[in-house]
């Protein structure tokens, strides 16, 4: 697709795909209609010849199958470039038939709706009031970064596990619940209150980010939409080391969430440190921070006679005591074990601390929030193991 041939662009939330195809159809246009959505990992393409769709692409999908899925892209942006096309003619149906059939499939639920509209799905995942879940609140909200406010009614799903999306929110009022969908059912992880963030540090760094949990409104919730572009700009300009520290923290949080979800389903991760040796303990290397360059590291916690695995780190991850991001892991509440292949470079944390102190409130709050959630979830995992050991 040649950028310079773009003759028409806009938002499908204003003119939907059905109408767009009718306009291009009535005009007898030839070219490529490109759709981009924040909720899809890659763009979608529709190839038109004299106004008729002749092929489409959505990731692995092609032809009409791909075209049908694109009707579900409600919030997408479109760009039409007028140019000769050499695409295969995989679609031979009449334009109007394609449009009506595509919309029919959206209405029938046979095609998934992508976009903020889809988020307004009522969740039946939360049925009882489980107020014994830990509640994490955030620090004071920096309103400069809030670009919009959204309200969600009780039970609405704000983000959905395994759906793509980079939106970041901060909870302004009310409570949301973070849950993991497991093959056996639902694992309820944590509740988030005012000042807490929905959306992770990793989602800033990675385009086409896949959500790793579902977040549901508990009661009426008011969320502030964060200025993603601003946060993104700040993030990409950080030093490599700080970026790695933040991403590694996020990875740790995700792993402990997975272990927590597993533990709730009675899948216990007993740590196996056979052949590994302690590297960071409360007596050894306790002031140091390393970036792993090779080998494996396991963060384990002793609970009675058991060793509970908290996370499993490898190349590119950070291990050690970061005084400004307390996760209640090593060196005081857990130990780091390394295998024979382990190599690492030490990081001068004092330099990083200086950079960290100059972060914007919002990014710093997000980092703190991730550390707090890691610590809260770790405590929860440990509690579950304790209970399990007692039984």
């Amino acid at each position: 697709m040649n950028k310079s041939n773009v003759v028409l662009k806009g938002s499908l939330s204003f003119i939907n795909l059905g109408e767009m195809l009718q306009i291009l159809g009535g005009n007898g246009s030839t070219g490529i209609l490109k759709l981009t959505s924040l909720y899809a990992p890659h763009p979608g393409y529709i190839f038109l010849e004299e106004g008729n769709p002749v092929n489409a692409e959505n990731g692995e999908l092609q032809g009409q199958e791909a075209l049908n899925t694109l009707f579900g892209w409600m919030d997408a942006q479109f760009e039409f470039s007028a140019e000769p096309i050499s695409s295969q003619k995989l679609i031979k149906k009449n334009r109007m038939e394609l449009i009506l059939d595509g919309l029919r499939m959206v209405d029938d639920g046979a095609v998934e709706k992508l976009g903020r509209a889809s988020v307004q799905k009522q969740s039946n995942l939360i049925t009882e009031d489980e107020s014994d879940l830990p509640l994490v609140r955030g620090p004071l909200i920096d309103y400069i970064y809030v670009v919009d406010e959204e309200e969600f009614a009780n039970g609405r799903e704000i983000v959905i596990q395994e759906k793509y999306g980079n939106w970041l929110w901060v909870v302004l009022k009310g409570t949301v619940e973070v849950i993991r969908l497991m093959p056996e059912g639902v694992s309820r992880i944590v509740r988030l209150g005012e000042g807490a963030f929905v959306g992770s540090l990793e989602s800033i760094a990675e385009k086409g980010y896949m959500r790793n949990a579902t977040v549901v409104a508990v009661g009426r919730v008011q969320l502030g939409v964060l200025d993603f572009v601003r946060i993104y700009r700040e993030f990409v300009n950080l030093s490599e080391h700080l970026k790695i520290i933040l991403r590694s923290l996020d990875k740790r949080f995700k792993q402990i969430t997975t272990f927590c979800a597993d533990a709730l389903m009675n899948h216990m991760h007993m740590a196996d440190v056979k052949g590994m040796k302690p590297f960071i303990t409360d007596k050894f290397n306790k002031e140091k921070v390393f970036m792993i360059t090779s080998g494996q590291v396991k963060i384990v916690r002793k609970e009675g006679r058991q060793l509970v695995e908290l996370c499993h780190l490898s190349q590119g991850d950070i291990v050690g005591n970061i005084p400004f991001l307390q996760t209640s892991h090593e060196p005081f509440a857990a130990e780091a074990y390394i295998d024979d292949a382990f190599e690492a470079t030490e990081i001068d944390i004092a330099v990083i601390k200086e950079e960290y102190d100059n972060l914007s409130n919002t990014l710093m709050n997000m980092a703190q929030h991730t550390a707090t959630c890691t610590s809260v979830t770790t405590r929860r995992v440990v509690d579950i193991y304790k209970k399990y050991a007692d039984e």
Binding site: N16, G18, I99, L100, L103, R104, D107, D108
Partner: protein, 206 residues
């Protein structure tokens, strides 16, 4: 909102058959497609929507005149009755130039007719259209059932219940036998053309 296609000097407009499920919208279009085949452009498209099929084809009204030298092409649609077909219904109704409301004469469908008409009113309103201004005709369909002993409503009763405020032209029809189908269509297309003439004149001030 008719579209003027400058490439082939054609005015495209949209006529939508609206009404409760199984009232005979599809039968209307099937009859037209079969019996006015010379005026049908392209094949009829049929989408299987729950309860009712959604049909679409292009119709070229012959002998009803041109507008400013342009030929007229009418897109005929049925709208899926079920509530869940929102996206489909919106696409079909958006920019409609005229409506034929197909009411069911069966006594048991009395309420369904009224609800559907109310629905039409609301759906048009959402698209900035006014049911009292858009070219509209009513059809009291399934009159052929009169002879079968099934309880059907009298024309007077239907007029009173559906057309008292609208006061538009209504037709007793039987979409199965085709009685009244052509008449309703011709009348409504004429209404649309007159409406467009008026709009275009008003637009250029002549």
């Amino acid at each position: 909102m008719a579209v003027i296609n400058l490439k082939n000097r054609q005015i495209e407009c949209k006529l939508v058959y609206y009404g409760p499920g199984r009232s005979g919208k599809t039968a209307n279009l099937e009859y037209i497609n079969k019996n006015f085949s010379k005026q049908v452009a392209g094949k009829m498209i049929s989408i299987d929507t729950e309860g009712d099929r959604t049909l679409f084809f292009d119709f070229l009204p012959i002998g009803l005149g041109k507008i400013r030298g342009c030929d007229v092409r009418v897109q005929l649609y049925t709208v899926p009755g079920q509530v869940k077909y929102r996206a489909t219904r919106e696409l079909v109704l958006r920019g409609a130039d005229g409506i034929i409301f197909v009411a069911d004469s069966l006594a048991v469908r009395r309420e369904k007719n009224m609800m559907s008409l109310k629905d039409l009113h609301e759906n048009l309103k959402k698209m900035g259209l006014d049911i009292r201004r858009i070219p509209l005709s009513l059809q009291y369909n399934k009159r052929d059932l009169e002879n079968t002993g099934l309880p059907i409503m009298s024309i007077e009763k239907m007029e009173k219940e559906l057309n008292r405020q609208l006061k538009v032209q209504s037709f007793p029809t039987s979409a199965l036998t085709g009685e009244g189908v052509g008449k309703t269509l011709t009348h409504t297309i004429k209404l649309i053309l007159a409406h467009l003439q008026k709009e275009f004149k008003w637009a250029d001030g002549s």
